[in-house]
Amino acid sequence: MLRIPCPYCGPRDETEFAYGGEAHIARPQNPATTTDADWADFLFMRKNPKGRHRERWMHARGCRQWFNVERDTVTHQIVTVYRMGEPPPETPR
């Protein structure tokens, strides 16, 4: 079970969190003028990297805040966490 450092509450067990998939998927500003292909890309296409992955988590059984996590999908190491709207911090590879 992962131990996730909530940027608002501190480190908590994974069971307190909900997973929200890949982070930084920008919703197209003007859906009406977005092509079908681009819209489908936004809706359905996600990265599935072996390694570093930026993803969203929500502290569902805590402060209920969404935030971003950079996690290594191989080692489960959590490299960094940052709040919604903040740019991803530079992390050493």
Partner: protein, 1001 residues
């Protein structure tokens, strides 16, 4: 009662003042406190304890610990009975009852042993090859196979014991309390770190309990006692005995099962039977020891053939000698030490056979000095004795070790002690995803690179001497504490522990024999009856991956997960494939290290505590009035209220009819309710719902549909504007939490600029829904200051006032198609409101109705239920709700509704179905075809989503999703069911009062 003829007159760590009686296979025996069941059986001269899994061969006690493959017993009777327990770990208590497994009619005479004679017809993969055809017969085969091949029997009664769980944090968790673990715990504990030391045995000491080692010039157990006493004094150290660390998960999360009361004849009322410890450790020190390997020689499975280290443990720790004439067979030094211990304890050793040529050195000299015949460069090529080994045949090995030659020597014996070297217990290290390296000298894998905050010490880290174990222990403990932020106060030096100089082992995975062939059984995996021949066969048939060989031969499966046989099996495979052993890798180590009971994993989360039960404020009334309940999520909702002698159908018909002709009352408190406030609340609703909200006036209600961005319906409900920037949203009962989460997600992640705030108020409001032509009369009779005149309180509006003296919000919205008032009062008033309305409604024939009648009423009106008419692939257009989809504003899901796929005319669309026979009620989920063909396949064009008998219409009704359904009105379709075909006509999805006059009047 027998007299323990194999018990030594003195010594051992047993309490001779506390004799225990026990029953094994129906016979009474005696042992002592401190014995394991296996030790007590050996003291009574019993080696034969079980039958093997496949061939039903007689099997004895092989080990003295956790790795035991054979001596599995069924312990206890009735609800407390537990199968597959290792006799080598069951502590003896007075009155213990144990029975052998997998034998019938008895252990000594087992009919299943015919499999041993048929072995040539039962090679690896036999079941896969033989029982494939015809496929339909597998169920019968499986039944017979499961009866023949099996272990213990699961108890049929409910587990009567209690279990407990604890979640703890510590700075350093030390796993294993042998010399390395104790040293690590001492070093870490002295820094003031919070230390947990867990060991699976009854007492600390590990391997030191079973040998005669010395530390600092004194018996090693003196050092163990001093170390344990020091740890006991440490305020921050927690010492767990009988506690197996069975899982090492991510981020230093480990699980321990502590056997609190398994060893007690009469467990106390206050203690659980077992306790699960869930530990989050800053640092972990693994000092998990090593497991001795068997030698893989012909017929190496007879009762009486055991590991040398186990024999040593029985003699030394339990004062029980395994036999009177012992032959030792080894490839390494440790068996010499075991032989010396056995001799000293009083168990004569006659012959020692060493695979290594010319055994020399201190140990060999010492053994010879006791008159033991030492035969070097030789191997056991055969053994005899059915229920107990009687003798061995010995021949010289050829120099390359692949064959034998020369004359055969016969040696009588009643015990063979074997040692094939030692395998570090890297299970937990490997579970933590640390990598392993191969040690070719000792023929085993050792930890290489840790993946987590893990330190490894002792023989599990390749420390082959006691002095090195102690040194590594102190080093690892100090390093772990330092990494957790604790600095040592005084340097801890490992005490000296001199041992004889070691000679390296000689690795020979399969010991050759002069007789080969498929009937020759060199057992690699005792528990699953896997032989060298099986692994060779798998390789011949093309299996290369160790994972595939494991699954094909079953080597390494079962309750012991190959603790003895995995490495020898790999060795045999590398020999036959002529491949480098480390290049083959190992099979994956998975938790649990040893089997864990479901009880321990479940703890107290059973029955009412398994999942929260949510009840409404009116629940007691429902119970008192005979409601039958239905689970809706965690809620208990009245399903229907049968009167004496009434069937469900009759009750539901009565409840529906009451709501249509008089008045019904429904407990709607479970409806999800979200309070939404803020200047941008209306903006949020406009984006979340498909329809527009800007023009909604205060105190007005509107039905809304919520989509995901892929255009599919996820929820619906009525939302009411309480004030310009204040809304009351309702959601489906089961979706309340999800919808709140959905709103929060959008506001937090996509629209943080919106000034809007929301909170769940589901449990703050109790709701009683009055529905039916007399609903207004009941509300008036209950007493209210609201003007109920239709012009003053029209449909789709909300009024705040008093109802029966309680503060209320009354919503005039209808899910039944009848005149309806949803009366919301503070939750604490729910019971009083309900009783007041029931009393006021009595003259009008008020009838409580449950969720089933609610479903019938809404289905008659063609109202959808999200999750029933929708399944995540249904758009508002599919439901025929185009009028709720705004053309002018953007909303979540709008763009997806313009994709070609959501625009297709042949999507499944919601329609009504009327069966040809009005009394035929279709099963929900039934598939729909255009015409039934004699045989499948036939194209299925849809399915039934809701189906009921409608008492209002006097016939059955159904809703269905059908390909291009709206264009099929009037068509006749078929619903193929088992044994019949039902003809249905496609109809409007609304069956009753299509213009809505009843609800709006």
């Amino acid at each position: 009662m027998s007299t323990q003829p194999f018990r030594l007159p003195r010594g051992g760590r047993i309490d001779r003042a506390r004799p225990h009686r026990f029953i094994f296979n129906g016979r009474a025996y005696s042992g002592y406190a401190g014995d394991t069941l296996a030790a007590a059986l050996l003291a009574n001269g019993i080696h034969l304890v079980g039958r093997s899994f496949k061939y039903h061969r007689p099997r004895g006690i092989v080990t003295a610990g956790v790795e035991e493959p054979n001596a599995l017993v069924q312990l206890g009777v009735g609800a407390r009975s537990e199968p597959n327990l290792r006799a080598t770990q069951c502590e003896l208590y007075d009155g213990l009852i144990a029975t052998s497994q997998n034998c019938w009619p008895s252990l000594r005479f087992d009919l299943g042993a015919i499999n041993d004679r048929l072995a040539r017809f039962l090679p690896a993969g036999f079941y896969y090859k033989t029982f494939m055809w015809p496929p339909s017969a597998w169920m019968q085969y499986e039944h017979a196979i499961r009866r023949m091949a099996g272990l213990g029997t699961a108890p049929e009664e409910r587990d009567s014991d209690r279990y407990d769980k604890r979640l703890v944090h510590c700075d350093v968790l030390v796993v294993g309390a042998g010399p390395a673990g104790l040293a690590a715990a001492l070093a870490a504990g002295r820094t003031g770190a919070r230390v947990i030391l867990a060991d699976e045995q009854v007492e600390f000491g590990g391997s030191l309990l079973s040998g005669s080692a010395e530390i600092d010039g004194r018996p090693a157990l003196d050092w163990v006692a001093r170390a344990t006493a020091e740890l006991d004094w440490m305020a921050e150290a927690k010492l767990l005995r009988r506690a197996t660390v069975f899982g090492y998960y991510d981020h230093n999360y480990l699980a321990i099962v502590e056997r609190v009361a398994d060893h007690l004849a009469n467990p106390g009322e206050r203690e659980p039977r077992q306790r699960l410890w869930k530990v989050r450790a800053r640092q972990v020190v693994l000092a998990t020891g090593a497991i001795e390997r068997p030698l893989i020689f012909r017929d190496n499975d007879r009762p009486g053939i055991m590991l040398a280290g186990a024999a040593r443990a029985y003699a030394h720790r339990y004062a029980a000698v395994p036999g009177r004439r012992t032959v030792v067979f080894t490839n390494n030094d440790s068996a010499y030490a075991a032989a010396l211990d056995l001799i000293e304890a009083g168990g004569p050793v006659t012959t020692l056979i060493d695979i290594r040529a010319e055994p020399q050195g201190e140990l060999a000299d010492a053994v010879r000095a006791h008159g033991v015949e030492v035969i070097g460069g030789s191997a056991i090529v055969a053994t005899s004795g059915r229920h107990r080994v009687k003798g061995v045949e010995v021949m010289r090995l050829t120099p390359d070790g692949t064959g034998v030659a020369g004359p055969v020597k016969y040696r009588d014996c009643d015990v063979v002690c074997m040692s094939g070297g030692w395998t570090p217990a890297v299970h937990l290290f490997s579970q933590s995803r640390g990598t392993l390296a191969y040690d070719s000298t000792h023929g085993c894998f050792v930890p290489s690179r840790a993946a987590q905050a893990t330190h490894v010490a002792g023989i599990c880290n390749g420390a082959w001497t006691l002095a090195e174990c102690l040194r590594q222990g102190f080093t690892a403990g100090t390093a772990a504490a330092r990494a957790a932020g604790f600095v040592e106060v005084a340097a801890a030096a490992a005490p000296p522990a001199p041992e004889p100089t070691a000679t390296p082992p000689r690795i020979l995975w399969a010991v050759p024999s002069d007789r080969a062939g498929t009937t020759s059984k060199h057992f690699v995996d005792f528990q699953n009856d896997v032989t060298v021949a099986d692994i060779q066969l798998a390789a011949r048939e093309g299996y290369r991956s160790v994972e595939h060989v494991k699954r094909y031969t079953t080597s390494g499966m079962g309750t012991d997960q190959g603790k003895l046989g995995n490495i020898p099996a790999l060795g045999v495979l590398s020999d036959v494939l002529a491949a480098d052993l480390p290049s083959l890798g190992t099979t994956t180590f998975r938790p649990p290290y040893t089997p864990v009971s479901f009880g321990a994993l479940t703890g107290r989360d059973i029955d009412a505590l398994a999942d929260p039960i949510r009840v409404t404020p009116m629940h007691d009334w429902h119970v008192a009035n005979g409601a039958i309940f239905e689970d809706v999520g965690q809620w208990k909702r009245p399903h229907f209220y049968p009167r004496a002698g009434e069937t469900m159908r009759a009750a539901v018909d009565r409840e529906v009819t009451a709501a249509r002709t008089a008045v019904g009352i429904l407990d709607a408190s479970t409806l999800g309710k979200i309070d939404i406030q803020g200047p941008d609340a209306v903006t949020l609703l406009n984006r979340i719902y498909t329809n527009g909200w800007t023009t909604l006036e205060a105190a007005r209600c509107r039905y809304g549909l919520m989509l995901k961005d892929d255009g599919m319906v996820i929820d619906d409900g009525v939302t009411t504007r309480l004030a310009p920037d204040h809304f009351h949203m309702t959601t489906t009962t089961g979706n309340a939490a999800r919808v709140l989460g959905w709103l929060e997600e959008w506001v937090q992640t996509e629209w943080p600029d919106l000034r809007v705030y929301m909170a769940s108020v589901t449990e703050q409001w109790a709701v009683a829904t009055l529905s039916g032509p007399r609903a207004r009369d009941v509300l008036a009779a209950a007493g209210t200051d609201l003007d109920l005149a239709p012009t003053a309180f029209p449909s789709q509006s909300m009024r705040q006032g008093a109802v029966a003296g309680m503060p209320a919000r009354v919503f005039r919205v209808s899910f039944t198609g009848e005149l309806s008032y949803e009366v919301n009062v503070p939750a604490r008033c729910g019971g009083a409101l309900w009783e007041a309305l029931i009393a006021a409604g009595a003259p009008f024939g008020i009838t409580p109705y449950g969720t089933e009648a609610m479903h019938v009423l809404r289905a008659e009106k063609g109202f959808i239920i999200v999750g029933q008419e929708t399944d995540g692939t249904v758009t508002p257009l599919d439901l025929g709700l185009d009028r709720l989809v705004s053309k002018t504003k953007d909303f979540i899901g709008k763009r997806a509704l313009l994709r070609p796929d959501t625009q297709r005319s042949d999507r499944k669309q919601l329609v009504g179905l009327l069966t040809e026979d009005p009394n035929e009620v279709l099963p929900e989920g039934a598939q729909i075809v255009v015409e039934r063909r004699p045989e499948p396949p036939m194209p299925m064009i849809g399915h039934v989503t809701s189906s009921y008998f409608s008492p209002t219409l006097g016939r059955s009704i159904a809703l269905a999703l059908i390909v291009g359904g709206r264009a099929r009105h009037g068509e006749t379709l078929c619903v193929p069911l088992l044994g019949k075909t039902v003809k249905v006509e496609v109809a409007e999805s609304c069956f009753y009062d299509r213009d809505g006059a009843r609800a709006n009047g």
